[in-house]
Point group: C2
Chain length 541, copies 2
């Protein structure tokens, strides 16, 4: 049986034998997080910097200070732990993204998102793999096999959803946000499939059978992960509605929502599914049903607590990447051939730019073909922003690189060490340089977009659906749960032109007739507040 | 330099090399936590069981199931990690206790609490040490030195604050709650002093010099820890007020409060102070100042998020103790002499009862001598409840026992193994048996106390100060910040009789004139809600 609890806890024992050094470093980390928050607040009005860049720079500075204090002899300052990242930091970020996402916007663009996330990632991966395998032979890096090249393709083809959250604003640019962020989420399933494929298939003889198998694999992963997330979300809604847990204690409701969200992620990991997809859909379902079944104070608490957890996790990741980047051991390997290292990083950055351009523009064109009204189409300026905003590579790339090229934090081969340092360089460069330029780029290309600088304003007015007035009505479609809105005359023309609308209508009917009576949700609970996306800001802010 | 970050992170790396087994056990733990919450909800109306007992029993059942599945050959099922406990689980529990404590009640009884926490613990420790050293020689346990006996005294003299939170209700019995819980908090400083003393002094030759040194040590620890907590709390209030962080983002405020609270605990650990005392006073200061400086939604969020974190940590601890108790390796050592093991546990339980009685009744008598009005005195029935409610030993005892008698989870000596199993027996017996009987005992001895069964009721009416009407007014003294209430005629007599009142009056004056203008707090922010202890329940519940 697999119930081997011993495997975690003796290690926990090892981890924290309360030596003074670990207390010192925890103090340092917590104090730095506080500093990041305060500095991030002070720089809020700044048009260039965002929170992630602040954290990254503070991390780098701390790394320099630590190096100076220890007089450069820092052997293994700290190792990036991919599991600290995947097990503790990533789930709250992605869950919160699902919890606060504008659901309508997301599902309206679903087909485009799938196109970008699945086909786009494959195109990008293929281009990067091909480019790397050609140029690295010329540069003489040596001792990398086809699996390594494919892995590099997968690592650098993945849009980092955490970075996207930082540079794009859901309220300012809802269409771009849902496209780039949704791509990042769907892309996780693609990455899992690619990584599994790299490890399990003989990739030297690709044929149509394997391609079909990969497609089947992707569909299975995507559907199974989504279903698991939806089912966990519905279960939490049902339990909280049926037992009316808020009757006795608000804390139990909040705890149950938190734990069930985390459970969905861990269950997905248990079944070798995509935890990111699962927890994202769990967040969507929880915000649609569960959130409406809890007491008023639980609603405020979950909305802000999830956002805070996600915010702290994001800041921690960037801080961590910043400090980690200065681990001198990694750089020692490449310090005798700095030219080669710079060449590798430049090649990777170039391939990144080309690989992303190679699918954003053609797929946007395809997506536009399917749409009738010009207001729904993705115009060229928006395409440029989609291309640019998805260029950043962050902690996911870092974690995958460590997974592929190190054995428990150590690199044996010279070529592997170079891949690690190149990944760090690409992550730092893309986050800082591309990240710094995103806000100004959006302002330059889309000057008429309303810019919201403070969270308080965001809460009171949500200028959504002014980019995509798909349903012919400017208010949120969720508000019209009364039957008569379904025969609104102005929407009949749109109903004929957009199949999405029909799907949406049937879903709404089904939701009202079957789902909400069982699982709760807005309209089926005594009080009727907004959804976590759009709270009625006048009551508490 | 001590900046050895490598010490934590390579271990984290070790900890979570994403082996499937650890994912399985995390799933198990999260699922069990959910089960505990749901079952705890269903048993809420039950007059015997409380949440901790539910979690303990579920843990025990899970232990049995795991044992059966692995057919009894579970070598080292899981090891109780004292650092998981002290670094991650304890801080949120104690912080939340300070954050939600009724401050007036706590400070009014401050002298009694100090008497119980410092002198009482010493008396109890001395009695247990003496009793153990005498009886263990007769039982022939062997190979325990004077340091071990003193450690056993310290381990079993400590009231477990986590258990107290579970059995006593702040709203039902505010005096008893503040006395027993306050004792548990102050007791932590005493324990730290005792443990340090055991390790650093030559205890075979006790004289008055060493006694004075110990007293000085205790005072230093107590004052330094309290100051550190107060300063961190004030710093957080000042930063949030000065920078008006809520202007841009609610999440930053919540994150800053959380991180600074945790920072206070870690700073105390860094300076070898009592983290429990520090984080407790940090919680008090934060609820008095910081909490009033944040936005309305941050107030709701922090109040419930801290309570939820504390609740989950408590449940986790009891679940963990339950599962851990069935680790078969520990019991193998003592299975050939079950009679001796039972004798040791019985002796310990008996000494526990005697040791606690030996200070609760005399010190209550002393404390009553100093008080004039009969309503302030602790009557005999209340003394019995104080004695009984402080009898439970929980995870703190467990953690200390592991610290003293094992080397990284393994016991070398037979006598040490027996001490571990006896501790487990005492913890299980005292939590389950004493815990089960506390609620009925309170109902039997204090039949006229209002019993509040649901959290929602608790929020809307807080029947405080009906046991101790010290300030001659039934409303919370914090409410009368307008000057005229200070010359309320009915309070003049009480003002002469109770010095506490005078101290309180001067503090209030100082608070209004100096502290609140600088650090914020009620009356110095635009909106004026209740304190986290007593929210205006009609607005959100």
């Amino acid at each position: 049986m697999a119930f081997d609890l011993s495997s975690v806890f003796p290690k926990l024992q090892l981890l924290m034998t309360s030596d003074h050094a670990s207390v010192v470093s925890m103090n340092l980390f917590v104090a730095l997080l506080c500093a990041c928050i305060v500095i991030g607040h002070l720089l809020e009005e700044n048009r260039w910097v965002n929170e992630s860049i602040t954290a990254l720079l503070i991390g780098l500075c701390t790394g320099v200070v630590i190096l100076l204090i220890r007089r450069g002899r820092s052997s293994h300052l700290l190792v990036f732990s991919e599991d600290l990242f995947f097990i503790y930091l990533l789930p709250p970020i992605i869950f919160n993204a699902g919890f606060q996402v504008k659901k309508k916007q997301f599902f309206v663009n679903f087909i485009t998102i799938m196109l970008f996330g699945a086909v786009g990632t494959l195109i990008s991966c293929a281009i990067i793999t091909f480019g790397v395998s050609q140029s690295f032979k010329q540069l003489g890096i040596g001792s990398l096999d086809i699996g390594d090249y494919l892995a590099i393709g997968a690592i650098f083809a993945a849009t980092d959803s955490v970075c996207t959250l930082q540079v794009l604003n859901q309220d300012e640019t809802p269409l771009l946000y849902s496209l780039v962020f949704g791509e990042g989420v769907v892309n996780d399933a693609t990455s899992v499939v690619l990584f599994n494929a790299i490890q399990s298939f003989d990739l030297n003889q690709l044929d149509s059978g394997i391609a079909l198998k990969l497609l089947g694999n992707f569909l299975y992963l995507f559907i199974a992960s989504t279903l698991l997330g939806v089912l966990t979300g519905l279960l939490s809604a049902y339990i909280i509605k049926k037992l009316y847990i808020g009757r006795h204690s608000t804390d139990r409701e909040v705890a149950l929502m938190m734990l069930m969200a985390y459970l969905s992620y861990m269950l997905a990991e248990l079944c070798y599914l995509s935890g990111i997809l699962t927890v994202f859909f769990c967040g969507i379902v929880m915000s649609h049903y569960t959130w409406h079944n809890v007491t008023e104070s639980s609603r405020v608490t979950t909305k802000h607590a999830f956002a805070t957890l996600s915010f702290v996790a994001e800041t921690f990741i960037f801080l961590y990447v910043g400090i980690d980047a200065l681990d001198i051991d990694k750089w020692r390997f490449v310090s005798d051939s700095p030219g080669k290292s710079i060449a590798v990083s430049s090649v990777l950055l170039g391939l990144l730019l080309v690989g992303r351009a190679a699918f954003v523009f053609p797929l946007s064109f395809l997506s536009n073909l399917a749409k009738k009204s010009p207001s729904e189409k993705i115009n060229f300026r928006q395409q440029v922003i989609i291309w640019w905003a998805g260029l950043m590579r962050g902690s996911v790339s870092m974690a995958l690189a460590y997974n592929q090229f190190t054995m428990s934090g150590h690199t044996q081969l010279r070529s592997h060490a170079m891949m690690i340092t190149s990944t760090i360089t690409v992550v730092l460069f893309s986050t800082v340089v591309f990240g710094l330029m995103t806000k100004p780029l959006i302002r330059y290309l889309l000057p008429n977009v309303k810019h919201i600088s403070s969270a308080v304003t965001t809460e009171s007015n949500t200028p959504k659906s002014h980019t995509v007035p798909l349903l012919g009505a400017s208010q949120d479609s969720e508000a019209d749960i009364d039957g008569n809105s379904l025969i609104r005359p102005s929407s009949i023309r749109l109903l004929l032109t957009t199949p999405t609308h029909t799907v949406h209508r049937y879903w709404r009917k089904f939701d009202n007739a079957v789902m909400r009576p069982v699982f709760g949700g807005r309209g089926f609970v005594p009080v009727e507040p907004g959804s976590p996306t759009e709270p009625n800001g006048h009551q508490w802010q």
